[in-house]
């Protein structure tokens, strides 16, 4: 608890610290490559035959995903707090890569916890992290995925709390993480709003984003919460809800208290956390950032899910129609667009958060298709 209080105080101070904010804005511009573009996907729009589809190109951010927005913010904060070392959990490897990158940029020691199952699926990202100077530690307990990596990162943090900051990668965990990560990611929505007003002279009709922990979705949605804009979060439907092999917390979970917050959780009748499944490591997680249940229960955001097969189809669809390989996580959002766009008139606008690029998934997709590379 004292570590969380220390973090909250440091974070609130940094929000008012002009020098800190100037540094962060400069890094966003010159290092991350922001603003990322808002791209009108003309061929995808024509193919689906409905609403105009815009892609918020977080895949073009440095390291290839939105994760860098939060990682650079938190590592900069850690440095200001006088921490010598940062640690992080990673699922798909994107947050691990982003944190390792931030640590290299700012000269801090870095250790990344990753489930052994995910290390297999995302071997390329494991090597990337090591190239960036980070130590990657395998987590072979429990389900050997993201939740177990978070457990071990939290254990490390409680052990080394004096020297170490834990760069939690999503809008989850104990306060202030959900707020802090949302704030660092909300740059996505601020840019998207400005860009769509420039391109179309009006707000979009609908926003769509995939939801694992939920940081890219919060990042896009937050700026639009008070506007008349429909929002859809897309969870991982895995092999289908009935199969039990999925990560759809709203469709298949109930309220629980886990890893420092109260939210929806995939759990059994005795409160043990269930194993999850998704083709995308980044969505393969048993709980969801606590602001999402709030947005769902108040009716502000609608949540649906896409199955592995739907996501894989969307992965190919976007690759072939637009020449953009989406991350398998983001492909879940694209799958939802493929379902929804035809329901809209052609003068309506959908903005999709393309949260990451798919290069990391190429090997995995080839494996699924039975192709040897």
């Amino acid at each position: 608890m004292p570590a969380l209080k220390e973090l909250e105080e440091a974070y609130l101070l940094s929000q008012k610290d002009r020098e800190f904010q100037r540094e962060l804005v400069a890094l966003r511009k010159t290092y991350i490559g922001r603003p990322t573009s808002l791209y009108f996907a003309k061929r995808l729009t024509e193919r689906l035959g409905g609403a105009k589809i815009y892609l918020k190109r977080e895949d073009l951010a440095h390291t290839g995903a939105h994760k860098i927005n939060n990682a650079v913010g938190q590592v900069l904060l850690a440095k200001k707090m006088g921490k010598k070392r940062v640690i992080a959990e990673t699922g798909a490897g994107q947050h691990g890569v982003a944190t390792a990158t931030g640590a290299a940029l700012l000269g801090l020691e870095c250790e990344i916890y990753m489930g052994s199952e995910d290390m297999k699926r995302q071997s390329l990202n494991v090597f990337r992290m090591r190239l960036l100077g980070a130590k990657v530690t395998e987590v072979a307990t429990g389900s050997k995925t993201l939740k177990d990596a978070i457990n071990d990162a939290l254990r490390d943090w409680t052990t080394n709390v004096r020297s170490t900051h834990y760069v939690l990668g999503t809008v989850f965990g104990p306060h202030p993480f959900p707020v802090m990560v949302r704030d660092y990611q909300s740059v996505i929505g601020r840019e998207a709003k400005k860009q769509i007003l420039e391109a179309e002279g009006r707000l979009p009709d609908c926003l769509i984003a995939c939801v694992g922990g939920g940081s890219n979705a919060m990042g896009l949605f937050y700026e639009f919460l008070n506007d008349d804009v429909k929002m859809i979060g897309v969870e991982a439907g895995g092999k289908g809800i009935e199969s039990g092999e999925h990560a759809a917390r709203f469709a298949g979970g109930s309220i629980g208290v886990f890893q420092g917050c109260k939210s929806y959780l995939l759990q059994d009748d005795d409160g043990n956390v269930l194993g999850t499944h998704s083709v995308s490591a980044g969505l393969d997680y048993a709980s969801i950032g606590p602001e999402h249940p709030f947005l769902r229960d108040t009716g502000r955001v609608e949540y649906s899910y896409a199955t592995d097969d739907e996501a894989l189809n969307a992965f190919e669809l976007l690759s072939k129609t637009e020449g953009i390989l989406p991350a398998l996580e983001s492909a879940h959002a694209v799958a939802e667009v493929a379902k929804r766009a035809p329901e809209f008139a052609s003068d309506k606008i959908i903005v999709v958060n393309l949260s990451g690029r798919g290069d990391k998934d190429v090997q995995h997709v080839a494996r699924i298709k039975g192709i040897e590379l």
Partner: protein, 258 residues
């Protein structure tokens, strides 16, 4: 006053220190757990801490994580551990503490859990991921049901924190000797003595130390400064790997804690 309170009162009168072994309920089976509790009592344990298996035991190191995995494979749940306590109460009146994480309690229903645990004969609760700041109702209900709420303090705990935790802890205060998880090494850098005397300045509630105690020498050193010594991982490890050596080991701990 619970059995825990009475145990510390008796120890204080006799000038002794509490020996508090921890075992994981259901590892390798609830029958073994019963035999082990009775053996621990026979060897002079003052209080027994029973771990409730959970899928994501955040505060535990590898030894207890594995024990929890084994117990879960045997389908041991919070419900079954409560029933176990009820059953064992016909054989022993040793003070019993459940160490569980919060989600199983939340899923069970906090109020129902408190009532059922108390009815079964549980004396105290340790829930490492339930900070007192979030537990006002829980503490109130546990108090009514005569269940001790035992909260944790760490070497990083600030003065404010110590005051908050001391105020809501009953039975004893659990001082985590290290920053880290259960089963790590014990640190002799003077911080434990400093923190314990700071805690003692805030409260009359006894202070027991756990998380890093693995040898009789560790136990003896801790017993010099604390009111009780908790030994977990080292016992769990022996019970799993070399069960024949457990009894002698427990006796050596008991002798060291004076």
């Amino acid at each position: 006053m619970t059995r825990i309170g009475r145990a510390f009162k008796r120890l204080k009168k006799d000038g002794g220190k509490a020996f508090i072994p921890y075992i994981m309920a259901g590892d390798p089976s609830l029958e073994t757990t019963k035999e082990t509790v009775l053996m621990l009592e026979q060897c002079g344990a003052d209080i027994v801490e029973l771990g409730v298996p959970f899928s994501d035991p955040l505060a535990d190191g590898p030894t207890i994580q594995r024990a929890a995995e084994r117990a879960l494979k045997n389908n041991v749940t919070l419900r079954k551990v409560i029933a176990f306590v009820k059953d064992i109460r016909s054989s022993t009146q040793i003070p019993l503490i459940l160490m569980t994480y919060f989600n199983p309690v939340f899923k069970y229903g906090s109020e129902r859990f408190i009532r059922d645990a108390s009815d079964a004969g549980v004396d105290g609760l340790i829930i490492p991921d339930l900070p007192p700041d979030e537990a006002a109702d829980f503490i109130k209900n546990a108090r009514k049901a005569n269940l001790d709420t035992i909260f944790l303090l760490a070497p990083t705990s600030t003065e404010d924190r110590i005051r908050i935790v001391a105020k809501v802890s009953r039975g004893f205060l659990y001082y985590v000797s290290i920053t880290g998880t259960t089963g790590s090494g014990l640190l002799f850098d003077g911080s434990m003595e400093r923190l314990i005397s700071e805690i003692k300045g805030c409260t009359d509630t006894p202070v027991a130390v756990g998380f890093g105690v693995s040898t009789p020498e560790d136990a003896a050193a801790v017993a010099k400064v604390a009111d009780g010594v908790i030994v977990g991982s080292a016992i769990v490890k022996r019970l799993h790997e070399t069960p024949d050596t457990l009894k002698d080991y427990v006796i050596s701990l008991r002798q060291a804690i004076r």
